[in-house]
């Protein structure tokens, strides 16, 4: 075997979105030698798609706001299934994380006093989202990117990690792709550009790979979102929590077909936009659940007054948490009251002036104008649910971000627990910052505490390269693009927004067949920048993650947040005390029930 390119770091961060960059910066600040590996170019990560803002109880607009209110909103939005400690840390630390960005050059929109302005969003009691127009994610990633560059952190762009390696791994686990050893020792991957392999030796690895949306047909996620981190963690022996909860963002574009799924920011509703069905009715008033009745307006007048006077009026139902809105839209379309292209109407044109819309929502204006020939200052948009975010992810220690595998950390979307059954808009960017920093720091500390560095067996590396190259050895096999399309179809149709037992069983049967199919994928061409080959490798991860979602969804016989069962439409208190964990058992995914961590009384009181 030819000598493989090797790099050695104290902390290796996989993924260069918000969480990965923030983790790398923190680890660097803690004195570690840090490397970042990312599948795309630096600065292209999915974080740029986040539009609305960063939720942080800074109290710049509403002084009544504080971390306890934010904590309460987050837990209620997550249907109380969140890990309370994560939600607490998140609410407490988010304001500092936002202010820190300013020190690194971020330019947020301002209040008249010159403070960071904050906007309204679904599920948040007060206007709380620090924002830059409707491109906050871009601002966040650029700020972190520029900070990382200023610190001189090594970035390996267009490099994909295919396997994690642990201390004491041997090559015998070849066919199972399941690692058995002890502490994390590093990661194995390939350069997309050349197809050559590379080995990173690091006693701490932070997964910050984002989500799984590419397993679904209609999604706001890009090709990168193939659940790599989820799968890597599973294969190293960590568990995934809450995988049944997948967030369908209520407002994705539905037309033209080529843009189906592209996100329409929640800020449209936060800034006054309303949802209407084909009869012109603001149907959200018909879908206010008991749980949120006390805090939601029940008349259009009250809802409209709320934008001006939040103290004496209740929130419009359009700003209910995303799961509620997505379900309502789904129900309207099913009842035949949808828009011509199978969505509903999102109307801001009739409610705000063109100048206001262009100033507050410039990229939405641009997006619809360019891609759909729709002028959102003059006509309503057509929108429908799109797969947006997975609440589930690697089960981690809330304070450190470490998984059950020593040295393996996870932060951001790939980590689980923080958002419970449903994530509130704006909480993901703050999640990235708060837990990115925490995992980065702790990964660095842990690496520094180690007396001896873990070692990597050459045979393990050889086995990993053989697995990666397998698709080149098969002639006339399956086309990876076709398999991906079929998988997306299955997940979309059978494990989508509304789920039923028989459909999910069907899905699991289909997924078993996919396991065979991805064993005989073949790709044309050679190793140099070959997207077909890259997809063939990613498909393994997509399949594994899809199975976790389907198995966990089948197990949870209730409806809650991002998991809606047609056959169990009610929320069940007994399930409210349980998390589902997925682990890899041989080739199969095993689901276990585990009790929710106990919330201390002083926090419990907030829900009195």
């Amino acid at each position: 075997m030819t000598e493989i390119e090797r790099h050695s770091f104290d902390v290796l961060v996989v993924g260069a979105g918000g969480a990965g960059l923030r983790a790398a910066i923190a680890a660097h600040d803690a004195g570690a030698r840090v490397g970042i590996v990312c599948k795309s170019l630096l600065g292209k990560a999915h974080t740029v798609m986040a539009e609305g803002g960063i939720a942080a109880a800074m109290g710049n607009v509403w002084q009544e706001d504080n971390w306890k209110v934010h904590f309460r909103d987050t837990m209620r939005g997550g249907k109380m299934l969140n890990h309370w400690r994560m939600a607490q840390l998140h609410a407490q630390e988010a304001p500092d994380r936002v202010r820190e960005l300013e020190e690194w050059g971020a330019l947020f929109d301002r209040t008249p006093d010159g403070l960071i302005s904050q906007r309204d969003f679904g599920g948040h009691r007060y206007a709380r989202l620090a924002h830059v127009g409707d491109r906050t994610g871009l601002e966040l990633i650029r700020t972190l990117q520029q900070r990382a560059v200023a610190l001189g952190i090594d970035v390996f762009m267009e490099c994909t990690v295919t396997e994690l390696v642990k201390d004491g791994d041997t090559a015998t686990s070849t066919d199972k792709r399941v690692s058995a050893g002890g502490r994390i020792a590093g990661a194995f991957g390939y350069w997309r550009e050349s197809g050559r392999f590379v080995l990173f030796e690091a006693p701490s690895v932070v997964l910050a790979t984002g989500g799984i949306g590419k397993s679904y047909k209609v999604t706001s996620n890009s090709w990168e979102y193939t659940g790599d981190g989820h799968a890597l963690a599973l294969q190293s022996g960590a568990s995934l929590v809450n995988m049944e909860f997948v967030q369908f963002h209520p407002t994705g574009m539905v037309w033209p077909p080529s843009v189906k799924g592209i996100l329409v920011t929640e800020s449209v509703r936060g800034d006054g936009g309303v949802l209407r069905n084909s009869e012109g009715r603001r149907f959200m008033f018909d879908y206010i659940p008991e749980f949120f009745k006390a805090e939601t307006a029940d008349s259009e007048d009250e809802a409209d007054r709320w934008y001006e006077d939040k103290t004496n009026n209740r929130r419009p139902p359009e700003l209910l948490p995303r799961d509620e809105v997505a379900r309502a839209i789904n129900a309207e379309v099913k009842a035949g009251r949808g828009s011509p292209h199978g969505g509903v109407f999102l109307d801001i044109a009739s409610r705000r002036t063109p100048e206001y819309i262009r100033r507050r929502l410039p990229s939405m204006y641009h997006q619809f104008k360019e891609l759909a020939d729709v002028d959102i200052t003059a006509e309503p948009m057509e929108v429908g649910p799109t797969c947006h975010y997975v609440m589930g992810g690697v089960a981690v220690d809330p304070d450190t971000g470490e998984s059950a595998v020593p040295g393996l950390y996870a932060a951001g979307e790939v980590a689980g627990g923080m958002h419970g059954a449903n994530r509130l808009g704006g909480n993901s960017l703050s999640d990235l910052l708060v837990f990115g920093r925490r995992t980065g720091l702790n990964a660095a500390y842990a690496a520094a505490r180690l007396a001896t560095r873990p070692s990597i067996d050459d045979d393990v590396v050889r086995a990993a390269s053989e697995r990666a190259l397998a698709p080149f050895g098969i002639e006339g096999g399956e086309n990876p693009y076709g398999v991906q399309q079929d998988l997306q179809e299955v997940m979309h149709n059978l494990v989508g927004i509304i789920r039923r037992e028989d459909e999910m069983r069907q899905a699991l049967d289909d997924l078993t067949k996919f396991k065979e199919r991805i064993g005989r994928l073949s790709v044309e061409g050679h190793r140099q920048y070959n997207p077909g080959w890259h997809l063939a490798i990613d498909l393994h991860n997509m399949l594994l993650v899809s199975e976790c979602i389907a198995r966990a969804a089948l197990e949870r016989t209730e409806s809650r947040g991002g998991h809606t069962r047609d056959d169990f439409p009610a929320t069940d208190d007994a399930w409210g005390r349980l998390n589902l964990h997925c682990r890899l058992d041989g080739d199969d995914v095993a689901v276990t029930r585990e009790p929710l961590p106990e919330m201390p009384d002083e926090l419990r009181e907030l829900f009195g």
Partner: protein, 262 residues
């Protein structure tokens, strides 16, 4: 309402390549990137093309379409005449890797050379204060999605490989301008903009502005104001004399303190 689209797509690598003909079925409302994806899925699985968000927000799918630098995801097929052949090539200012993918590392190297933001110390209560009117100029520049279309179209490096080491390019003039106009920044980067970023090489022919998918007025709002600032610092005989007299030029550049409001 599908129809067949004739395309020519450049395929090859640094050792050579050619425009390859494809006929691909496309639908109403689709963009060039959709057509490329369909070629990938059905005719050439190894066709290399970068893309991510497919919504004009990440700046990955920069290519040259019918000779013009553009985002493939934002170029609707309806903008072409019926029967028109759509030619797609990689960016022609950067080394080609494979097919439509180029090596854009030049840009990342330039980024490393821009001196970072150096803010005033935080006020006692921890919260910086800036007025909306003061952040708006910088916000326009920070809309940049780093698609590098402005870099690829800029003839200074597109037509003169030898200028690359001494020229930062429009994208980074945006960055210089953003920092120079940042209400909290304490550095003076004007000499660097001249000396290291080579702003004098720019002859303001405005192609960067023409191709910017974000509609940033790169030339009018960033490059020309930077040129004027450089003129303030280095070419204006009156201010030059003033500096001589007050001996301000004795200080290293990065430490020249700003006069209030300047």
């Amino acid at each position: 309402m599908g129809y067949d689209l004739d395309m020519k797509v450049w395929r090859g690598d640094a050792s050579g390549g050619e425009l390859v003909d494809f006929t691909v079925e496309v639908e109403e409302g689709e963009v060039v990137l959709d057509a490329l994806h369909r070629i990938q899925a059905t005719q050439a699985g190894d066709l290399a093309v970068r893309w991510n968000c497919k919504a004009g927000k990440c700046g990955s799918c920069s290519t040259e379409i019918n000779g013009k630098p553009r985002l493939a995801c934002m170029t609707r097929l309806s903008t072409f005449e019926e029967g028109e052949t759509v030619t797609v090539t990689p960016l022609r200012a950067f080394p080609v890797v494979r097919d439509l993918v180029t090596d854009v590392s030049y840009n990342y190297k330039v980024a490393e050379k821009v001196p970072p933001f150096a803010p005033e110390p935080r006020p006692a209560d921890g919260a910086y204060r800036m007025q909306q009117v003061d952040v708006e100029r910088g916000q326009e520049f920070r809309k940049c999605i780093e698609c590098f279309l402005c870099q690829t179209v800029c003839h200074v490096i597109r037509d003169h490989e030898e200028n690359k080491p001494s020229f930062a390019g429009p994208r980074f003039f945006l960055r210089y301008a953003e920092l120079e106009m940042h209400p909290l920044d304490t550095n003076d980067r004007r000499e660097l903009a001249r000396e290291q970023a080579g702003i004098g090489l720019c002859n303001i022919t405005k192609c960067c502005t023409e191709v910017c998918p974000e509609g940033i007025k790169i030339t009018d709002n960033a490059i020309i104001p930077m040129k004027e600032r450089v003129a303030d610092r280095s070419y204006d005989p009156v201010t030059w004399l003033g500096r001589k007299i007050f001996r301000r030029d004795q200080l290293p550049d990065a430490q020249v303190p700003r006069t209030p409001g300047d």
